[in-house]
Every structure is written in structure tokens, then in C-alpha cells.
């Protein structure tokens, strides 16, 4: 990965992690919809950029540049360009998973819920994500 790719990927993961921290504490609709969501979610891009999120009762906390032992679900994307498309919402997670671009290991249900969460995030941050 080039420096530009690394920085962009870090920023996109930051936007997802910190965006979910904000939404999960301020958005009543989100809180109601995901109040039963408990998980630790690891993201790894090109084996280089890493971040995990801890979810307790729907409340997200993001840990940048960090790895968690035994996550509930772990997502990995090998190709930077694909990661960028997934993290900006240009392609949805389910399609990326079906095509093999997005790898998911662990609890399938927790993983599918993450898909719903990111759709909510993309819609809420539409000025930022460009949807």
C-alpha cells in the first residue's frame, strides 16, 4: 500500500468507528434499533490497517490501530480499492461478501447486523459519504 492508500484507509475506518460512536450515543432511532447488539468487531485492510469496535447494548467504542483477541466477528479486505468502495458505501457489504472481496470470520449474525449498522451510518452521514 502507498502512503496515500494507508492514510485514506485509516481515515475511512476512523469515520466509521468514530461516526458510530457519535450516532450510537446521540441518535434515538439508532439506539432503539440496535439496543440488543453486543459484539467486538475487528477490521483489517490489506493486512496493514487495523481497527476494532466494541459494542455494548448498541453503544460503539472504536479503537484505532488496534487488534482485539477473539473478536465476535472479523472483517478483512485484501485489496485497497475494494476496501475504499466498501467503506465509502459505493458497494454494499453483502455484495462485497458474496463476491469474496470482503471476508468475514466469526458470528454470521453479528456480521450481518454490522451491515445494517453501516447502512444507517452512511445514510446519517450523507453529507460526508456522498450518498
Amino acid at each position: 500500500m502507498s502512503v496515500k492508500e494507508i492514510i485514506q484507509t485509516k481515515v475511512l475506518l476512523y469515520i466509521m468507528g468514530k461516526g458510530l460512536e457519535e450516532i450510537s450515543t446521540t441518535n434515538e432511532e439508532f439506539k432503539e434499533e440496535f439496543s440488543d447488539y453486543d459484539a467486538t468487531i475487528q477490521w483489517t485492510i490489506a493486512d496493514t490497517v487495523k481497527m476494532y469496535m466494541k459494542v455494548e447494548g448498541g453503544k460503539f467504542t472504536a479503537f484505532m490501530d488496534a487488534v482485539v483477541d477473539e473478536p465476535t466477528v472479523a472483517f478483512a479486505v485484501e485489496d485497497y480499492a475494494k476496501a475504499k468502495e466498501i467503506l465509502t458505501g459505493a458497494i454494499d457489504g453483502t455484495s462485497a461478501y458474496m463476491s469474496g472481496d470482503l471476508k468475514m470470520v466469526g458470528d454470521m449474525q453479528a456480521g450481518m447486523k454490522m451491515g445494517q449498522v453501516t447502512n444507517f451510518l452512511t445514510e446519517t452521514l450523507k453529507e460526508l459519504m456522498g450518498s
Binding site: 485509516k10 481515515v11 457519535e22 446521540t26
Partner: protein
């Protein structure tokens, strides 16, 4: 319920500051340019935030969200949320925004202008973040 545009600006403001802190270890040229800088930049977005400040010292960058520094070197007051989105997404040049009044500078304006290279360099890395 927090306004989605406010949330987008807050998340992006944090993402830019995170990117700056990360770039130090990834781009030697960027780190070199920070040599000798000792300043506190207060960011304010009119009319109701978000606000944050950034400390540059000893070639390191640290930021604090939702915070007002008691003695900033200079304060950058951004006209509104739309302007903040444009600046943080590198759609408009910060120096130009200062010149036409969309950003007002309080405090050491010369230092503010001199340190705008930080935003410019970040813009080169993040300008096409959304593809």
C-alpha cells in the same frame, strides 16, 4: 437528535486531525516541515460548533474534540457547517477561504497563514477520498 450535517463535520474534523497525527510517521517530508512549529490552533464552526483544538509541538500533533483551549495561538472561525465540510474535504482552499472571509482568524494571523500547509498537504492525501 443531533443534526446530520453537524455530525458529518464533527466526524470529519476528527478524521483530519487523526490523519495529521498519523502522517507524521508515514511522510518524512511532512514531519520535516513541522520542525520548529509550536502552536495551538483552535477550530470553531459557526454558529454552534463543533469545536476542537490542535497542538503542534516537537513534530507531534495532538487534538481534542469538543474543547476550547484557554490560550490558543490563533483561532480559525469557520462561517458555517457547509464551509467546514468544503474545507475539510479539500474542496476549497483554506487560504482562499481566509481571504474571502469564510474563515476568520483571531490571534496570530501570520502564523495561521504559515501553518496552512498542514491542511494543504492533508488535502493532497485526502482530496479524492470518496473516489
Amino acid at each position: 437528535m443531533v443534526d446530520s450535517k453537524y455530525l458529518s463535520v464533527k466526524v470529519l474534523m476528527g478524521a483530519i486531525q487523526y490523519a495529521a497525527s498519523q502522517l507524521i510517521s508515514l511522510d518524512p517530508e511532512f514531519k520535516k516541515k513541522l520542525a520548529g512549529i509550536d502552536s495551538v490552533t483552535q477550530w470553531k464552526v459557526e454558529p454552534k460548533g463543533p469545536n476542537s483544538y490542535t497542538i503542534v509541538k516537537n513534530q507531534k500533533i495532538e487534538s481534542k474534540m469538543d474543547a476550547i483551549h484557554n490560550k490558543p495561538t490563533y483561532t480559525l472561525v469557520i462561517k458555517d457547517l457547509d464551509t467546514a465540510l468544503d474545507i475539510f474535504q479539500a474542496k476549497i482552499d483554506a487560504n482562499k477561504a481566509i481571504a474571502d472571509g469564510r474563515i476568520k482568524v483571531a490571534g496570530d494571523a501570520a502564523k495561521a497563514q504559515k501553518e496552512m500547509f498542514i491542511l494543504e498537504m492533508l488535502g493532497k492525501y485526502l482530496g479524492d477520498l470518496r473516489g
